[in-house]
């Protein structure tokens, strides 16, 4: 009975209809995401699956582990893999130092000036990787601007060999990778509430102590995110070592390319690709123990 004493209203039980609506809504949402799902399957899952299959076939197309056996038996593959990690690690470390300083500066500047710097960071993205790499070739060569400037200022006497070797490769890679480290790191630093820094100072921390005890720990996740992205992208680099390494620096992607282009052997190349993929996945797995992956790829903040 209602308070006013009249009979209760006829109440329909809409449970079945409401459940139907909920189901229909789920299907609609699935339908909306279908094109994207199909695209991912087409451009990601199919090629990688095909690569995977190829790696387990010998030259006649029969199933075999020959390709992987070759990877183990030929010491050059191990060396190349090791060199790839070595270069990536070095580039990541250099990027971390340079990028941290740059991101810190940007995070402390008023937004407008930080925006200008950000433009500078992003500018290289607007030119092709090949153009940037060849530009470094011009800068770093025997008679290039860097050598001329160094000798002109009396910093060194004979021209330094800055290109067609490891140094050149690392310089080029650091330049290309820096934005990938700076972007998530800058995001993380901007997200640090100014009040934390103020509170630390208020509680008696000198600027250096504020940095060590508060700013650095709070930006660590962003640094980790940027470093992970940088390292993984670096592992797969091809153009820079090919151009600036002058054939002396062979990273994983270069070895794969050589296999396919010169010997037309898809099997070993695929197997090497699968190994690289597996190692990268393993690294991400380890990384995820220290930081959440969704943060790494979600902007780091």
């Amino acid at each position: 009975m209602r308070p006013d004493g009249r009979a209760p209203l006829e109440a329909a039980d809409n449970a079945a209809a409401l459940a139907r609506d909920a189901r229909a809504e789920r299907w609609r949402l699935f339908g909306l995401s279908l094109p994207a799902l199909l695209l991912i399957v087409l451009v990601m899952v199919v090629p990688v699956g095909w690569l995977f299959l190829l790696s387990f076939q010998d030259e006649d197309g029969a199933l075999s582990l020959a390709n992987y056996r070759r990877l183990i038996e030929q010491p050059s593959y191990g060396r190349i893999l090791f060199a790839s990690f070595e270069i990536s690690l070095m580039v990541t470390a250099i990027c971390a130092v340079l990028g941290y300083a740059l991101a810190y500066l940007m995070s402390q500047l008023p937004p407008r000036r930080a925006g200008l710097l950000m433009l500078g960071v992003l500018m290289p993205f607007w030119t092709s990787i090949l153009v940037r790499t060849y530009a470094w070739l011009v800068l770093l060569q025997r008679d290039g601007i860097v050598n001329n400037l160094g000798i002109g200022l009396g910093l060194w006497r004979a021209p330094l060999v800055l290109v067609y070797n490891m140094q050149g490769t690392i310089i080029g890679l650091v330049h290309i990778m820096l934005p990938f480290l700076v972007l998530p790191l800058y995001g993380a630093m901007r997200a640090i509430d100014r009040d934390y820094v103020r509170a630390a100072a208020n509680l008696g921390a000198s600027p250096v102590q504020v940095f060590w005890h508060v700013f650095l720990p709070l930006s660590r996740a962003g640094l980790f995110a940027g470093a992970t992205i940088t390292f993984i992208l670096c592992l797969g680099s091809y153009v820079t070592p090919a151009v600036l390494g002058g054939g002396k620096v062979v990273m994983a992607a270069n070895a794969v390319a050589t296999d396919v282009e010169m010997y037309f052997s898809w099997g070993p190349a695929s197997a090497f690709g699968v190994v690289l993929l597996a190692v990268t996945a393993l690294l991400l797995l380890i990384a995820s123990r220290f930081a959440r992956l969704d943060r790494i790829f979600g902007g780091g903040a």
């Binding site: 009040d195 509170a199 630390a200 100072a201 208020n202 509680l203 102590q209 709070l218």
Partner: protein, 368 residues
């Protein structure tokens, strides 16, 4: 200074604060306009004002986060205007609490002790003591993220007082809490202040908070202190119309002076010798100070007659809006006890309202 129940808790001698001619401009905006202010040692003083009035800027000047254009700030005998924030030794509770998310509750509280070279075990012991002081014993191991808003507020307070500063600053310390908890914390903050006897400057825009907690209130508007008084004087005798409007509800009725007497329309005002500011032309009428007169009841004080326009039931009280003959309106707040509710007039009824002489406050209209 002895404080009952806190034998283990000793803060240094509370310090007075002296602010002289402090001015801060941002471009063309004057945030602080030659501010003078004396905070007595051990006093709880509240800076009260609307947003943009400069109250927070003044607090930031005291903390050292804002560099003023000119002026002097002394803590006790020491000039601190050029002293870096980390050398000032003042505790501060931030509006956002600013608890470090990468540290546990105990580590947060022990942070200032660690910076002062206190051994870890001793720091942890004192952190635990401070936690007990803010009624959160045993929560030291928690992460900051696991705390409720009220708990964070208390931890921020514990962190601000654990290193026994001689001055405590609070920036809107309760604004993030819901109403009930806020009112509870107001009384608790005041109690804690009485216990520690620490010179405290608190910024708020909440007049009730200011009235509840403070020894004195400095009302700030446009970068100036427009009134510095005890809560009761600020409420009962606001210096200007701005203060009256900002602190509490009120209606303003124009009055006319004739010789020594003041008239509301044709009714002479009963003031009983209260001080009247120069050029006063407004009568401030607080709703809760008006009394609804029964028919034929004689009143001691000024009687205002009008017709009921609206009656709003608000639970703890009833607001009766009354239109006056001159076109103005006043509101009278009546308690909602059963007897009063039965005697309530109806909309349209003619009513008489009484204002006691002590509750009649005249002021000068400073509103442009």
């Amino acid at each position: 200074m002895t404080r009952p129940g806190s034998a283990a808790w000793s803060s240094g001698e509370a310090l007075p604060i002296q602010v002289r001619q402090v001015t801060k401009t941002y471009g063309r905006v004057v945030a602080l306009d030659h501010v003078d202010l004396d905070v007595r040692s051990g006093e709880f003083l509240t800076l009260l004002g609307p947003s943009g009035s400069g109250k927070t800027t003044l607090l930031m000047v005291l903390a050292g986060f804002v560099r003023p254009d000119r002026g002097s700030v002394r803590f006790g005998e020491q000039e601190v205007i050029r002293l870096a924030p980390h050398r000032r030794g003042v505790g501060m509770v931030f509006q956002s609490y600013a608890l470090f998310p990468h540290l546990s509750v105990a580590e947060n509280i022990a942070f200032p002790l660690k910076l002062r070279g206190v051994a870890r075990s001793e720091a942890m012991r004192r952190a635990e003591e401070a936690l007990a002081l803010v009624q959160l014993p045993g929560l030291g191991g928690r992460s900051v993220a696991a705390l409720s808003g009220g708990q964070r507020q208390r931890v921020a307070l514990a962190r601000a007082i654990v290193f026994e500063p001689r001055i405590l600053l609070m920036d809107e310390p309760l604004s993030a809490l819901d109403k009930q908890l806020r009112e509870h914390m107001q009384i608790e903050l005041r109690r804690l202040h009485d216990r520690l006897g620490i010179t405290t400057v608190c910024v708020t825009h909440d007049q009730r908070e200011a009235l509840t907690m403070s020894d004195r209130i400095a009302v700030i508007d446009h970068g100036r202190i427009v009134q510095l008084d005890e809560p009761r004087r600020v409420y009962d005798h606001p210096a200007t119309r701005f203060v009256a409007e900002f602190v509490g509800e009120s209606a303003f009725l124009p009055v006319r002076r004739s010789g020594e007497a003041y008239y509301l329309g044709e009714t002479p005002l009963r003031l009983d010798g209260q001080a009247v500011p120069e050029g006063a032309d407004l009568l401030m009428v607080r709703p809760e100070r008006l009394r609804l007169l029964a028919e034929g009841e004689a009143a001691d004080g000024t009687v205002i007659a009008g017709a009921v326009r609206e009656i709003v039931y608000q639970g703890d009280s009833v607001l009766v809006q009354v239109a006056l003959a001159g076109g103005q309106a006043v509101a009278a707040r009546i308690g909602s006890a059963h007897g009063a509710m039965r005697a309530l007039p109806a909309v349209g009824d003619a009513v008489r309202l009484a204002l006691a002489p002590q509750d009649a406050c005249l002021l000068r209209d400073d509103a442009a």
